[in-house]
């Protein structure tokens, strides 16, 4: 069982704040992390490997700048077998269509080295772009079927099908999916930590690099900013309310009376 996990390095958007005066994002000091949903996808792959260490191989791949190597090393430290960084200036500015196209080409390249993949795991969404589109679009480029919003996966005995629990608007659905399949995961908890030994080892591990030149037959009209059907034409920070009426009083009764008065004045009940 050969599993590819697609991972993205993202700023920890739970730590980002908006500068209320300049109306820009304060990114200073915001750590770069492994996208939390991808960490969960990797964890699910690791659990399959725990059950059958000899037969499960996990490859992680990320498209991004050189500094994403740190994150790939963290993936190796928790148990991934090998790691690939897909990096080239030509890939910059790609939207989800172009990103997923490049990933699909890179995956074919990686398969030459690692053998063909039985399953591709993605996070449901990256917590920076937040589109949740790369997984399904990658599946489309690869001609694989997709199972989104997974929270759990188990394999049948002969590894031909997977039982996957999905969390959707209506509740939970268990599906039986034929392998090969692309799965996107939607949880972020219950992760494992690397041992210090493995952390040390991963520092010296090889991160294989894939550049534009490595991707034979790639269609230039489908990559980078130029190859992206969507274009961001404007970005701005959402308005922060500054005129809210917030009651602060030492005496709780007084506070409540004032509060209730405001609500009544506004005819809120």
């Amino acid at each position: 069982m050969n599993i590819l996990v697609c991972v993205k390095q993202v700023p920890d958007t739970t730590e980002i704040r908006i500068d209320p005066v300049k109306k820009t994002l304060i990114r200073d000091g915001v750590p770069s992390i492994l996208n939390t949903f991808d960490a969960f996808a990797l964890e699910q792959a690791l659990q399959l490997k725990d059950k059958n260490p000899a037969n499960v191989k996990i490859v992680v791949a990320s498209m991004g700048p050189k500094q994403a190597e740190t994150m790939l090393r963290d993936c190796l430290a928790v148990g991934a077998n090998s790691a690939y960084l897909i990096t080239d200036r030509k890939f910059g500015g790609s939207d989800t269509y172009a990103t997923s196209y490049i990933l699909s080409k890179a995956m074919k390249k990686i398969e030459e080295e690692e053998g063909s993949f039985d399953m591709i795991f993605c996070g449901k969404q990256a917590i920076d772009g937040d589109t949740a589109q790369v997984g399904p679009e990658l599946a489309e480029h690869l001609g694989l079927h997709q199972i989104t919003y997974a929270i759990n996966i188990t394999l049948n005995e002969d590894n031909t099908t997977a039982l996957i629990t999905r969390e959707v608007d209506e509740g939970k659905i268990v599906v039986e999916a034929r392998i090969p399949v692309l799965v996107t995961f939607t949880k972020t908890d219950d992760l494992r930590f690397a041992s210090i030994m493995n952390k040390m080892k991963s520092k010296k591990a090889e991160i294989k690099e894939i550049n534009y030149e490595d991707l034979e037959g790639i269609d230039d009209t489908k990559i980078g900013l130029k190859g992206s059907p969507t274009r961001v034409v404007k970005s701005f920070t959402p308005d922060v309310k500054t005129d809210g009426i917030i009651i602060r009083e030492d005496d709780p009764n007084e506070a409540f009376e004032k509060f209730a008065e405001e609500l009544e004045k506004a005819k809120l009940y």
């Binding site: 958007t13 679009e137 989104t148 268990v174 034409v233 009651i247």
Partner: protein, 335 residues
């Protein structure tokens, strides 16, 4: 220039064949844009039982409908549904496709956009329209809600976007005199269906809790301390005729079911009134509720970020404020 014409709205249906609100909301929004260029709003409905939905789309702004029916559509499968959408798009060449950003919509949308090699803007919260170019300006939150981006799809058609349910209101229109339903029978070979549903664990609350359609929501968070205290929230919601919501922390703690969760990984809501009790207001929570008309925050920490979006707030202990407020409203309403 493009030949592509008309706005399509994908209509998702419920178990009983009626349309979900998200799609109906988008019909009205599409109508506003379309009326400026004299094109049509076409509802695309896929399912094995679509009659109810057809009646609804007629009322809420569609000028015509395409219905794809057949047994193969009795349960949602990405490949089966994507094929049906793509076949129709190829035949009729729409200019725009709007899809409600439900879990189904966000599964289907990228699959279709990928196959059509076109752009898809995710999870939009407002839409603009440039009449000359017939180009939609899609605005959406990114970075966990910290940044808004306006996106266009200039050189590819159809232009596609998923739009958060609840950000627009349904609007009734006079029934279009030329309204017609084109019925399509598009087959999909059984052997190409690669996954099937083996079990559905319905969240009992999922059907009963309609946060997206609620006009008043009272939400509780970790500040409640224990599950029993949700009673306070329920009581306040009851006197206001509102629905109970929650933060993810309360859901993760097992105090209340996921159906109640508001936020980035829960529901996006847009009620007239949202009351947050013991919720800190992390960006992922705000992402789901900052579009509410009026927000009231009750929190004992005056630095809680929830106060940055609140219209009214009180720094205080929810265990005194909430019951008092419930009593006050009861009295006022003579309950």
């Amino acid at each position: 220039m493009f030949e592509n014409k008309n706005f399509w709205v994908y209509i998702e249906t419920k178990e009983d064949g009626s349309a979900k609100n998200g799609g109906l909301e988008l019909l009205g929004q599409a109508r506003e844009m379309v009326d400026q260029v004299d094109e049509e709003v076409i509802a695309l409905i896929i399912g094995n039982n679509v009659d109810k939905a057809v009646e609804q789309v007629k009322k809420y702004g569609a000028t015509s409908a395409i219905a794809v029916t057949g047994d193969v559509y009795s349960e949602y499968n990405t490949d089966v549904y994507a094929n049906a959408v793509v076949e129709n798009v190829k035949e009729y060449q729409p200019n725009v496709i709007l899809i409600s950003a439900t879990s189904l919509g966000r599964d289907l949308g990228p699959r279709v956009a990928g196959r059509l090699a076109t752009g898809l803007t995710a999870d939009c919260t407002s839409l603009g329209f440039e009449v000359d170019k017939k180009e939609v300006q899609w605005t959406r939150p990114a970075f966990g809600g910290n940044l808004m981006a306006t996106i266009i799809c200039a050189d590819h058609r159809p232009q596609m976007g998923t739009v958060r349910p609840g950000v627009f209101e349904r609007k009734e229109y006079e029934i279009s005199p030329n309204f017609e339903v084109i019925t399509k029978d598009i087959d999909f070979p059984q052997e190409k269906i690669l996954s099937r549903i083996v079990e559905v664990i319905v969240d009992e609350d999922a059907d009963n809790v309609d946060l997206e359609g609620a006009e008043i929501i009272v939400s509780g968070g970790r500040g409640l301390g224990k599950p029993e205290n949700f009673k306070l929230i329920e009581e306040l919601a009851e006197v206001l005729g509102g629905t109970v919501g929650s933060s993810r922390a309360a859901v993760d703690a097992g105090w209340i079911s996921h159906a109640h969760q508001v936020g980035q990984t829960g529901k996006t809501v847009g009620p007239k009134l949202y009351i947050a009790c013991g919720i800190s207001g992390q960006i992922q929570h705000l992402a789901g509720m900052s579009g509410s008309d009026v927000i009231i925050a009750i929190n004992k920490d005056e630095n809680a970020p929830i106060f940055t979006v609140a219209d009214y707030g009180i720094v205080g202990d929810l265990f005194t404020v909430v019951p008092k407020l419930t009593e006050r409203i009861k009295k006022k309403k003579n309950l």
